[in-house]
Subunit: 439 residues, 2 copies
């Protein structure tokens, strides 16, 4: 290992210069290789955040991050699609999208992360199914993708280790909210896995990291530039996260909701967004028209073929596939299920979605610090969406908790997140815009 | 110790907000108390550097740094004056100023640092006198200031420990060049010692940290604002460091030069600046007129009374006072003394003073890293100043070295730092401006 002095590179970024690809690589390699400590890297990240990174620098950073670890190449006879969300509340699209896309003849090898803060994690949700493994080897992943069409597994430690190190450092040093750094983090993990199409769901609103749709568009464009610079196809949707997307904010209850949507027994925004993503994949990879693609995706939910793929995926990963027929015969259930009954009347005007996510975390459904355990059984089920009428005495959801005290506390928190007004309001759009994306 | 999460404070500075005094104190205390690691502090320092600190924030930072350690209160029957230089090449003013001010009836308790990089250190120079101690206790310091009128001692580890920690971190993270951070570092050490007057020498030019006089004025003003905010009297001169101030760049040779100036046997810019500072102190503390103060300072050099104070100070600190009569009977002398003979003719137009300082470091006279040993005997003696005529064959100085090879290498380096042109040029002013400074 060559030991480098990081200070000239920090000083260049501090003084507003653009860094060369070699400088970016020297910095990333030097940090991940232990050539210098956390502190110079933290100063560098703050300089990047405040002085910005141009497209070439962001691409060089992303490339250096990808090159810090292994890359994954799966042989697949069907087109491989990857889908990623920047994170939100009740955002269960991935778990619906993967079997749905598989039912439509695409392959999905989804490497996922765990929940952190107010956002849930796909792996955590999936692991609430007893026996289910997510620590698949690359060989297991490849085999399952070929036989079932989809797999959702944990990202291995050898994939983009620089991202793990840099993300932990950013979290500790208040250097998270930088669009180039977020884009490099997101895209390094997508670009390390060879696929035919990357679909990005960039969330905007009170439950997302990007609070405004303008910020979300900028992040989406930066991510797409990275894909183009890499020579990869990608499409990005900027979608609404001003309220929970689905109704379930937890883990086991999210699986129950996933089963209902996959079985065609539940409509709404969660189903609609999953259909939209699957249809975009089909259009892009199989040349279907938009209307035809949407119709095929809707049909795969309604005829049970998507749910069947989910059952096969769960079985392949060691879980009990009966969860797709009778979820609560398999899933852990909280001892306290407290109905949420409205004490007010009017229309739902706004939701503090991040705070709602944190109320679920307080119940035990999520984690504040990486590595904390979670309780798969607890969570919040909340039905109304913005614009919906609410009547006094109406059952609007449930709190699943370990104790009465926790349930009562969650109920009080939930009400603080909901604004009920006298006048009806327009629901926010589901998708603000699509951006994309051939190299 | 209260463990604090530093991230809200970092985020506030990152987002351009002004921090309260409580936030600054929580940050400094948290860092020096080990409540969080180097990395968050490094991100914070970069945010301070790039987004700036206003006067109130800089004062709060300085106060928190002073409060991190002990403060010094010396009982003195004469007015106490402190003098500080921001560092330069051949900047031996302090060693002349201290005994000169003592000879004029003032008291000087100077707590000094060691040389780093291209700048020499007063302690290193003084310790080239065999037997001389600089690790004086507060009691020894007080006694010596009362009996001799001056003492130059090492700053103890218990004085402003936050500055030591923050400076080391800034050095490692390319966060040194921030005027508020530099001012807080300089002034925390001055304000931790109770004195009646602080005299600051803020250097500007090729041998200084501030390359332009405009930057130096800004630093001087920031330092003076801190003094005013603290309720202390201070005056600052912005002085020229576009060339070495004196002729000696080393340690023992600087002591020999000090003895010559203190004994009235050497004129020039070094003597003139020491007289200027001593006269300003006398004007400010004893109400003397400017002309009278200058005349008294000149007289104290010419009548031997300043040199006598130096002898008493050296003796009080355990050194051999004969150094003031016959320096080379006492001081370590390098085995190689190579005359510097000019091979060109014209006028000295410019000096790369920082590189000249580094040529002396290469001989062993200084240190690149804190804690490195130095060789007190070696150094560079260079006579011409900007504007002086130079003739081919003229003896312009000497290199004092451990080996012929080192001397030859230094000679080549020295010539690279000197620009000799065909036309005479105006010498730069010695003092650009005085600024100051009653609370």
């Amino acid at each position: 290992m060559t030991v480098i002095d990081p200070r000239p590179i920090i000083a260049a970024k501090r003084d507003g210069q653009s860094l060369s690809a070699d400088e970016m690589k020297a910095f990333v390699d030097g940090y991940t290789g232990g050539s210098f400590a956390d502190a110079p890297a933290a100063a560098f990240l703050m300089a990047c955040l405040l002085n910005g990174l141009d497209d070439a620098e962001t691409l060089a950073l992303t490339r250096a991050m990808v090159e810090s670890g292994d890359t994954v190449h799966l042989a697949s006879t069907r087109p491989l699609v990857d889908k990623h969300s920047t994170g939100g509340v009740a955002d269960g699209v991935t778990l619906i999208f993967a079997p749905l896309a598989a039912a439509l003849g695409l392959s999905v090898a989804k490497l996922s992360g765990r929940g952190l803060g107010h956002t849930g994690g796909t792996l955590d949700k999936l692991e609430s199914i007893p026996g289910l493994r997510t620590d698949l080897s690359v060989e297991e992943l490849a085999r399952q993708v070929e036989t079932v069409g989809c797999a959702v597994a944990a990202q291995s430690d050898s994939l983009v280790p620089a991202d793990r190190a840099l993300y932990a450092l950013r979290d500790a040093t208040a250097t998270v909210p930088s669009i180039p750094l977020i884009a490099a983090s997101v895209m390094s993990k997508k670009l390390a896995v060879a696929t035919d199409l990357i679909l990005l769901d960039v969330k905007a609103g009170s439950g997302a990291f990007m609070k405004s749709s303008a910020q979300a568009v900028e992040l989406a464009q930066t991510c797409l530039s990275l894909a183009v610079g890499w020579g990869r196809s990608a499409l990005a949707a900027v979608t609404d996260m001003s309220q929970p997307l689905g109704d379930a904010i937890g883990n086991a209850i999210d699986i129950a909701e996933t089963v209902e949507v996959l079985g065609g027994r539940r409509g709404g925004r969660l189903r609609d967004l999953a259909v939209t993503f699957a249809a975009r994949g089909l259009e892009s990879l199989n040349g279907a028209s938009h209307d035809e693609a949407v119709a095929r995706a809707e049909a795969a939910l309604d005829d049970g073929s998507a749910l069947e793929r989910f059952a096969l995926m769960i079985q392949a990963q060691g879980g009990d596939p009966r969860v797709t027929q009778d979820p609560w015969a398999v899933l852990p259930r909280a001892p306290i299920v407290r109905p949420l009954v409205s004490d007010r009347a009017g229309f739902l005007v706004a939701v503090a979605a991040e705070d709602l996510g944190l109320a679920a975390v307080a119940l035990g459904a999520g984690r504040i610090r990486k590595g904390d355990p979670i309780d798969p059984a607890v969570g919040i089920w909340l039905r109304p969406k913005i614009g919906d009428p609410i009547e006094a005495g109406m059952l609007i959801g449930e709190v699943h908790a370990r104790s009465d005290a926790a349930a009562l506390e969650a109920e009080a928190s939930i009400w603080r997140t909901l604004t009920v007004g006298p006048e009806p309001v327009e629901p926010p759009p589901l998708v603000y815009t699509w951006l994309g994306g051939q190299p």
